[in-house]
């Protein structure tokens, strides 16, 4: 801390402003600075401009105003190559690794040691070992990336940055994809880096993690800086207030569930033949009226494939899925939605959830054009469209100028509300929700959770998948854990089940007996 006052900061960003071509103000007059040897958190809700700010530091985005000082000297960083030259490294949320190559090959990519015109593989392995020993981050240089767990891939990314000489390491939401155990391991690694005098910039919106390992914190809100604080001097409540504007209590009133008849039945569902390991392997479970079934698991263990099979986006290869007795494999997506009365909120809202180049109104009503209220002989009834769109915008508190605004102008939370408004505003028997709060702010999350509870109490069957353990625990009445395409654990009730226990199943360390897992299925 005293060094911060007496020496020049490693990096200083002054008056940074960035406006995207869709008009969104991502950063406005933001000041930011980090010193060597500190772990510095950049906090804020999604859409607050954390990633954008860091992308400008790493040369991935061009800033519109402001300057960057490196060790006190003004620099311009126009590409990642220039950032790397300044010893800045970045680990992205999506890993930038070549899955078919080995760890060592990935490590040296772009700066391969050569023997004549050939790549010197032995040297690459040697270098990898050297750097891994130096920082006490063990890795097998000969392992193929595709075979590694998420936590290890992340370690490769960190080592890759270190191999390129990074002294300042930017980590973009590194814990979002990790289990509690893997998170602990990551924190151990970061503390080692700190001891070596490296700087870690840690982007996150999880307050608890930041309290655990960070020294200082810069809080962003709506693209503006809310100040820099010593982590030990600021309480969790204060951080939350600065991020959101008011303290958010996530305590929602959740009544006990009273399940009725079975709505969704999944029997012996398998998927992914011919792609190596099965993505889904003999999955059996059911969802009844008026209950919320949660799916926990590290991402990429078949959850997405499962939900896409249920909603008709993927063809069922083996097994049986029935919604109120209707065989899903015999129905088009349209019929699954309209005849079987299923709603589906997809994980990737920009890819599947909305047409971002279309207006809010067009997105809200895309699934009900066939209704008499909205079209006659194929001609749309514009008046009713506008009226219903206005109502939905009000009911779901979507923040926008008007219903004719393009969806890509909205914040992540409001885009999600558009999806939710469209999917949850019609009477449905079954609702499938993938990552309800991914990348959206706390206020919107609370709103969506409340809506889910309301619908459950009204007798809807609900299936939720979330990689966020806290969220899935809060939402679910019962929960199953997926690991490598299989259901490895089922909990009828979550009372007394800890996150660490769930973590063990998520990592595949433990597995329940077939009898226990069978509990997930009701006739």
């Amino acid at each position: 801390m005293s060094t911060a006052e007496h020496s020049v900061p490693a990096i200083e960003m002054k008056g940074i402003t960035k406006i995207y071509s869709n008009g969104v103000v991502a950063n406005k007059d933001v000041d930011f600075s980090v010193n060597y040897g500190e772990i510095h958190a950049v906090m804020g809700e999604n859409g607050a401009g954390k990633s954008t700010l860091m992308k400008m530091l790493f040369g991935l985005e061009k800033m519109d105003k402001g300057q960057i000082l490196f060790e006190g000297k003004e620099v311009s960083i126009n590409s990642p190559a220039e950032a790397i030259a300044l010893k800045i490294g970045m680990v992205h949320q999506e890993f930038m690794l070549v899955p078919s190559l080995t760890v060592a090959e990935n490590m040296v990519l772009r700066e391969e040691p050569r023997k004549g015109i050939f790549i010197d593989h032995n040297k690459a392995i040697e270098e990898t070992k050297k750097i891994s020993e130096m920082y006490n981050l063990p890795i097998d240089p000969n392992a193929r990336i595709a075979d590694l767990a998420v936590g290890i891939k992340q370690r490769v990314e960190i080592l890759k940055a270190l191999y390129r000489g990074a002294k300042i390491l930017i980590l973009d939401e590194p814990t979002a994809v990790l289990t509690p155990q893997e998170t602990e391991e990551l924190f151990r690694q970061l503390l080692i880096l700190k001891e070596h005098g490296h700087t870690v910039i840690f982007i996150s919106h999880k307050i608890r993690e930041i309290k655990q390992i960070c020294d200082r914190i810069t809080i962003l809100k709506n693209g503006r800086s809310m100040g820099v604080y010593q982590v030990k001097d600021i309480s969790e409540g204060d951080i939350s207030r600065l991020m959101v504007g008011h303290e958010v209590k996530m305590n929602l009133d959740k009544k006990p569930a009273s399940p009725g008849k079975t709505v969704l039945k999944v029997e012996h569902l398998s998927y992914g033949y011919g792609e190596g390991k099965l993505k889904l392997d003999d999955v059996n479970f059911s969802v009844r009226k008026g209950e919320i079934i949660g799916i926990a698991g590290v991402e990429g263990n078949g959850q997405r494939e499962l939900l896409e099979c249920l909603s008709g986006l993927r063809k069922i290869q083996r097994g049986k899925v029935a919604i109120n007795g209707n065989d899903v494999s015999k129905m088009s997506i349209y019929d699954i939605r309209e005849k079987a009365k299923t709603a589906y909120i997809p994980q990737d809202r920009l890819l599947f959830g909305v047409a971002s180049g279309a207006t809010i109104q067009e997105n809200l009503l895309a699934n009900r054009m066939d209704y008499e209220e909205f079209s006659k002989a194929g001609v749309l009834k514009e008046k009713n469209f506008v009226k219903t769109a206005k109502e939905l915008i009000k009911e779901f508190t979507i923040k926008c100028d008007n219903e004719k605004q393009l969806v890509n102008m909205l914040s992540g939370g409001n885009i999600q509300k558009v999806v939710v408004a469209r999917e949850l505003s019609m009477p449905r028997e079954l609702i499938i929700i993938d990552q309800p709060s991914r990348g959206i702010d706390i206020g919107a999350t609370k709103f969506i959770h409340q809506k889910i509870f309301e619908l459950r109490d009204a007798g809807t069957a609900i299936l939720v998948n979330s990689a966020d353990l806290a969220e899935i625990r809060e939402l679910s009445d019962s929960l199953f854990v997926m690991y490598e395409g299989e259901i490895v654990a089922f909990f009828r009730s979550l009372d007394g089940v800890t996150e660490e226990q769930l973590g063990e199943y998520m990592l595949g360390i433990k597995k329940q007996t077939p009898e226990e897992i069978k509990e997930a299925f009701h006739e």
Partner: protein
């Protein structure tokens, strides 16, 4: 100023500047190569308006461009960039002539209507084939439709040389088309005829279809985000086929109407290039049917002017190609004016914040 407004204003400014730059370059070239540059310029710029006959030529040049431009608006609306307009336009002309000469159940204006309806159906169906191959066998839509145009042409050429060619005539071409089927002339001493009305009606219908019906709406949604369209339950293949059918039909109708007033005989011995012109017209109109009339008029004007210049001065009409190329280059270039727009965007959003 809102970002949406800014985008809109800039797309107009960009188009205007692109046209301006293209025209200026063309004028410079004319001044450089012509012995009588002033006369050449005069006939190029003002020629199309100098008398009623030439205005007629302008309209005559514009009408087919409207059809093919609208065709591309619909063909491309789903994001499948096919070139079917080219083949359909050719076959529309051929099939229109075939009907007019060989279909004997009806005659006169009834034959005109029957022929055009047949042209619409046949050309619509022809445009489906490339997309079916694309979806069923995964072949690239662009390449398949490009190659398929040659299949259409050679089939058409077979029909022409075996059934329609008038071997006794000195001018090579088909038998004379029956004059009682021709569209009524609208303006005396010109070739402006009923096909202009058909074209204008088509502008309205295409706009209405794309923006006011649920099918057009679905087609546009597929174009904006095909994954989303599938997820929301839209029959993506069905809608893509519908778009190709309608786009092909409109392009074919453009070829068809040419046989009922503009030409005494069918005399196309190669593909017409109109499909490509359609892409240009549609690009200039930002793929919006409501702007097609303007962009077709502009292109028709430049071509008529170049034609007149060709005949009255020493500058060849190929100068049009220069203008077209420069124009499309600047309109298509995403970076053109992007810097200025970003600066204004920053300025406006900073100002707005101050007011607030």
């Amino acid at each position: 100023m809102s970002n949406k407004k800014l985008d809109l204003i800039f797309s107009f400014i960009k188009t205007f500047l692109a046209i301006l730059i293209a025209m200026v370059v063309a004028l410079i070239i004319i001044v450089c190569i012509s012995d009588e540059p002033l006369e050449a310029l005069h006939s190029f710029l003002l020629g199309p308006f100098s008398n009623i006959r030439r205005i007629g030529n302008l309209v005559e040049n514009t009408v087919p461009l409207i059809f093919v431009g609208l065709g591309v608006c619909v063909l491309w609306a789903t994001g499948k960039r096919t070139l079917s307009g080219e083949g359909c336009y050719y076959f529309g002309g051929l099939f229109g002539a075939l009907m007019a000469l060989k279909f004997t159940l009806v005659s006169g204006k009834a034959l005109t209507v029957t022929s055009l309806v047949a042209v619409i159906i046949v050309c619509g169906l022809l445009a489906l084939l490339p997309i079916i191959v694309n979806v069923k066998y995964g072949a690239d839509d662009f390449v398949v439709s490009l190659l398929f145009n040659y299949v259409i042409f050679y089939v058409g050429n077979y029909i022409f040389s075996n059934y329609l060619m008038d071997i006794n005539s000195s001018s090579s071409g088909s038998y004379l088309l029956p004059e009682d089927t021709f569209f009524p002339t609208l303006v005396e001493k010109t070739k402006i005829n009923g096909s202009l009305i058909v074209a204008l009606v088509m502008v309205f219908l295409t706009w209405f279809f794309l923006y006011k019906t649920k099918w057009g709406y679905r087609i546009r949604l597929i174009g904006i985000n095909a994954n989303y369209a599938k997820y929301i339950g839209i029959n993506v293949l069905g809608m893509c086929l519908l778009a190709q059918f309608i786009g092909g039909a409109i392009s074919g109708l453009g070829g068809g109407v040419e046989m009922f007033g503009h030409n005494p005989r069918f005399a196309w011995f190669s593909l017409t290039n109109m499909g490509w012109d359609g892409i240009m017209v549609a690009t200039l109109a930002y793929y919006k049917p409501q702007y097609i009339l303007l962009s077709a008029l502009f292109l028709g004007y430049v071509r008529t002017g170049a034609d007149i210049m060709n005949r009255t001065s020493d500058v060849a009409s190929e100068i049009v190609l220069v203008i077209q190329a420069i124009m499309i280059l600047f309109i298509g270039a995403k970076a053109f004016m992007a810097g200025t727009q970003q600066k204004l965007r920053v300025k406006y959003s900073t100002e707005e914040k101050k007011e607030a």
